[in-house]
Symmetry: C2
Subunit: 209 residues, 2 copies
DNA sequence: TCACGTTTTAAACGGTCGTTTTAAACAATC
DNA sequence: GATTGTTTAAAACGACCGTTTAAAACGTGA
């Protein structure tokens, strides 16, 4: 087994388990057992559990932010005064890239769940890491939102966008629990795509009022 | 120190710590140290950590559901065809009861945070406990929502209300992190009440579209 | 093939966890 | 005031945690 194999398998297992259980509830032994590697491999390749958590986030956030930055530039080049809808479309398209399969949908779900953990379970080190590495892209995104709605105060923009993030993150974080509740309540299954198709107009109505 | 003192102080400390850190990150030693009681007191009075978690939820959910049930009955008696706004007002008023002080606002924040944990961190036992004890009130609430909007499918109702819950729960769960981010971004402080005053019209726009 | 740097392995470390045990302190009853 | 049931106290239990160690296995260029 090559080094790349070991590192990748640790990251894959850790990502799944963190998303499923959270950081504290996931032990290195669970991760290494699922990844079929030796327990010491995590400390050898990553240094510590904290570093592994950061690596898991870096693996999906770095390409995401790179792509988002590029897409924002494309948008700005094509449209000198992008509206709210344009900016959100860029975000949605960037997030949904490659989400046309069941595997892709699960990827998005994991992405959202990890994002939620970053807010609600963040040990200080993770928040510092995220701010240090991804704050620039975040700021740029917010700036376009402000430009699109100069009549709203920065605070109003901030909170509206985070209410929306909350609805997304919560829904996707608890998606399995919620689908089961929905099934019990209504007798019908709700596919993840059905849920998304309801979530987007819901948020649009709230953001654009 | 009377038994009531010990039990109450354990519940108080556990509630604060669970809301702040989550279940797994809060040890019985933290709880008993803060409560200034002996470590063994939790197992003696509650049986186990799981039972303590359930007791924390029961202490604030039982009176809440009792009150909500009563208020729903009052509403139904006064109005044979309550609208969405009526039903949500009942919920909001029930939740905001006694939230006119700083202490009250913190209580609400803790309430929301615990509710969020129930969805996202729930160990199976907690979800089973909540369903067993509080599902009836929940169902009744949902029924009024359905009656208010018979043109919407039960599934649409379910998801819209949970998107809204998500925005609330996420916001209140991460309120301190978010306020700090907002401060860093905009240079202004956002009081919790300011946030609520923005959240409510945000949700109203999304639910009533 | 040998030597050497890298990676994997098995075992152990110290520490914290939830829980249990045993005895002491307390409160209420007769 | 002795007795009985309840509550508190200190200490220990085994289990699991993240991490470290030291040796074995591996791969590669000389």
């Amino acid at each position: 087994m090559s080094q790349a194999d070991t590192v990748t398998r640790i990251l894959d297992s850790a990502e799944e388990l963190f998303a499923e259980k959270g950081f504290a509830e996931t032990s290195l032994r669970m991760i290494t057992t699922r990844a079929k590697v030796n327990l010491a491999a995590v400390n050898y390749h990553f240094g510590s559990k904290k570093d592994l958590i950061q690596a898991v986030f870096a693996r999906f956030l770095s390409p995401f932010c790179t792509k988002l930055d590029r897409e924002l530039s494309v948008m700005a080049a094509a449209n000198s005064e992008p509206g709210l809808r344009d900016v959100l479309d860029v975000l949605a398209r960037t997030m949904l890239t490659g989400v046309n399969s069941t595997a892709g949908t699960r990827k998005l779900s994991v992405f959202m769940r990890l994002l939620g953990l970053a807010y609600t379970q963040a040990q200080g080190h993770l928040r510092r890491f995220l701010k240090e590495n991804y704050h620039q892209t975040y700021s740029r995104f917010i700036l376009y939102l402000r430009a699109a709605h100069p009549e709203l105060s920065p605070r109003e923009i901030f909170w509206r966008i985070h209410f929306a993030i909350g609805a997304c993150v919560f829904t996707m974080s608890s998606i399995e629990v919620l689908r089961e509740m929905s099934r019990a309540d209504t007798g019908e299954d709700s596919g993840v795509e059905d849920v998304m198709n309801q979530l987007i107009p819901f948020l649009a109505a709230a953001l654009e009022r």
